[in-house]
């Protein structure tokens, strides 16, 4: 498989949802990390939480974290994976093909405006990992079909859900060592 740069972006919050950290990991086609960027924690006030309501997390994820991280990273990803549906709103703001990725069997709670997004199921050929489901932004319905070959190859190299766990652990370690990430 030719060299690829794969991006993983997610928004992590504390248990009490007092603060949020946006993180972007770029790996090669084998899942080896090339670059990692994250934001200092965003701590919305109670009033901000109340007034922004449901829009709070998408706003933080997309406007405050996602776009700046992607502008800042040196190794621009060729494809971007996200793990939460509300971050799909990032797609119209960037040029990078973006796919929502979940394990099959997870409860789907899309909260997107358009429930008729294209979903593609990808199996791991070796059976090492459970199958995953890809989903696109409603305005880019064809993207998952176009990228299915690439995603298939990647999924045979490594588990595409697993990097989000690495990022979560890394954010926890950062939080323990630097209060800016708590």
């Amino acid at each position: 498989m030719e060299k690829q740069k794969i991006g993983f972006f997610s928004l992590y919050d504390t248990d009490t949802a007092d603060s949020y950290v946006g993180a972007l990991l770029v790996t090669d086609q084998n899942g080896i990390p090339l670059e990692f960027k994250c934001t200092h924690s965003v701590k919305p006030t109670l009033i901000q939480k109340t007034l922004y309501g449901e829009k709070l997390k998408p706003y933080i994820a997309i406007t405050l974290c996602g776009i700046p991280l992607l502008n800042n990273i040196s190794n621009k990803p060729d494809i971007l994976f996200i793990s939460t549906p509300f971050i799909l709103g990032l797609r119209p703001e960037i040029e990078i093909p973006t796919l929502l990725i979940r394990r099959t069997g997870e409860t789907i709670n899309l909260q997107t405006e358009d429930d008729e997004t294209e979903k593609q199921k990808i199996e791991n050929e070796s059976g090492q990992y459970n199958a995953i489901i890809l989903q696109t932004h409603p305005d880019n319905k064809e993207e998952s079909k176009l990228l299915i070959g690439t995603v298939n190859q990647l999924f045979n190299n490594f588990d595409l859900i697993e990097p989000f766990e690495r990022m979560k652990k890394s954010i926890e370690i950062l939080g323990k060592n630097d209060t800016n990430f708590k």
Binding site: L25, H40, S41, I73, F158
Partner: protein, 860 residues
Amino acid sequence: MTLISNKMLLDKISIFNKTKLNIAKAIAPIKQTSVISFKQVEFEISQPKRNTAIDFQIPKVKISANYTIPTTTYRFYQAVILPLAKIGESAITELLSATLINYNVLSNLTIPQIINVQISSLFEPKVFDCIEYNKLFTLDIKIENIHLSFVKPTIKGKNYTRKIETIQANLFSGTDEEYNTITRTSKPKIERYYTEKNKHDKFEIFDLIFPALQPPLGNSFDNPISFPYQLYPFQVDGVKFLHSSTTALLGDEMGLGKSIQTITAARFLYREGKISSACIICPKAVMSDWEKKLWDWAPELKVIKIEGSKVAREILWNSQTHFYICTYETLLRDFENTSEIRGLEINERGHLIKCPNTACGKNVTSPYSFHYNASVCPHCKHSIIHPNNGDIAKTNFDLLIIDEIQKTKNPHAKITKALRTLYAKYKWALTGTPLENKVEDLVSICETIKPKIFDNVYIGDIAKVIETYKPIFKRRKKEDVLKELPSKSTKEVWLDLLPTQREKYDLAEQQGIVDLEDRGETVTVQHVLALITKLKQICNYEITTDESVKLEYLKEELEELTEQGDKALVFSQYPNETLKRIFPHLKEYSPNIYDGSLSDLKRTTIVNDFQTTENSKVMLLSLKAGNAGITLTRANYVYHFDLWWNPAVSAQAVDRAHRIGQTKTVFERLLLAEDTIERRIYNILADKRRLFNEVVNGLNDANVLSQTMTEDEIFGLFGLKKNRLQPKQRIENKSKDFNSLDPFEFEVFIGELFSQMGYNSRVTKKSNDGGIDIFAKLHTPMGIDEVIIQCKHKVNPSSTVDVAKVRELFGVFSANKKLTKAILVTNGRFTSGAIEFAKDNRIELIDGTKLQGYVELHYL
């Protein structure tokens, strides 16, 4: 909290406060009032207009004997009370949250609904303690604007790819490749130079998380990860044992790779994000060896050695890193005061200690922290600074590795207390000593890594003790895993010079370089080699202070290997400067020295004694004497005190043990001093070994070094450049036709020839020369060659020199133990008898043909 619309209460507000309320109403229309009651205390504030907020302060109110609500600012917004100040005390927080009506419920109600909440009865507010009723209404009403925009967060991170230059790339492709330290195996194999530059790469917080960002490792190591060498199956078992144990005692015999297994298991934990800090406590002699092993086996993990002055150590303890390496002595120095507190119980949150306030004396959990970070006794508010009295050590790690833990078997020793006071999620201990023979030692060691393990176990019941420690103990002997081991295992051990050794070394090097520079054009390779010899001898043993880090390391090794019934050989090219110096320090092992000064009988006796009895545990051999012809298979540990330029020479040395008759794996250890000439030479030769096949096999010529390294490289070891010497002028009235010379002229000619070959030569007097015509000295990497030369000039070049002349020379040679070689030179030929005799007795013969070759080589 109860919200009431209570007109009755309004009547009780003082005129002054009513005025304030009216002013406030004029600024922000207030439609109705609300009363918020905190259990027994009630405050009246004005109901604000929607989308505005009112700040008000509750004055300090004593709720009960134990709790006082401090002065706190609250914001009232749309029927919601939002505490702006953090209360702090958990009890008060609970109090407030218990009294506040769920504001989520409130926020969903419209204001008229809130106002219309009915209560069962109206009653006058009850006031307790000394709060005056009117004071409840001295509220300062403010109107504020609320800012809703977010501040853009700062972005941080790291690019983990690096450009590299490889020898292969430069030679054959000229392209740079990007690589990531984890995936060396997926790229062309690249040696990383352990240089000063690499060692001190700046460590950032994103280096800390680098291991956790790697792909997970499968149990069969099937994900891309680099290992310098393949692990043996028994080592894989060891790694799995450690990885799955929060408490473990690994007791494999020496040489089976305990350190490597430990490092690999730790690497797993880092990769899984289970640990983010680790500390290795070890003897001083092996500190650098650990550092080097971590460099080889876990290149992505950053290492800090805790050493230097107290100020320097404090900085190091405060620095972020993956691994701290600390000696037992340093730990004691930096943690003694805290660990002196007896009866410490440790848990995840900290130490359980008695409050230092004698009036209190209650048990307190004092959290782990660095120095000067005080905690407070919740009972009496006394400040507790932990660790105590200026201790500077970090005390809380995710992983603690205790190397050579048998040194802390005394449970009452200070160091044992210090170790037991450190907190770590994972505690692993390493030892090569067969502890099963000493139950009480084993019990103490197990208590260090797992406190109270033997509670409720009677120590006299051996079976019960074994049953108790078995789950945390793993030991393999060489005989258990022999089939998996190679017959010979070679390893370089890099050591840091001891303080005075370092001082002397640096001084000698600086002075030596100045001397070389002062020589100008007359400097030769021999001068450089002489300096190298001097520096290497200091690396081995510093004679003014008797300091030797190699000796310290050797003693650590000998202690362990002799306990397990093994023996060792120690080679050095400097019998007088090294072997004789270290000899007295090894007396407990009954050493013998095997060098050229021994008679044949003595040599035979020593060898037999070593092979067949248990008297002597270690033999010290000079390379020249002990390099060939003797069998020492009773030993299976071989230590080289100095680096051999010619690998064939060191191979010959280790072959004294590694040969037919050997029943065990032979462990060869090359002891090298870091940050010295030994490191620089090692790096250059390592490059050459990579690029070329070994070309020096069989070379035993004195100039073997210059055939392994170029002159420029030799001079470059000290940052010097060799100026080309002006060609020596032909010796006037002397020609290459040495056949025409008279005997004395022939001697002078030969003397000059040997000077050209790099010797310092001196021609003796014409008569009464004691059978020696020329004395010559040559500085080689193997030491100083002291040579005697006898010249036999023949008028007729076809004439022969017979065995009698060779015997004569041998007689002179063997009478002087300092000599390394004897040379007999003739312009004629040698008889076969002479040749045969010379071969067996270390005499070199140079006949006319050979002489002609030397002359053509060394003269213009």
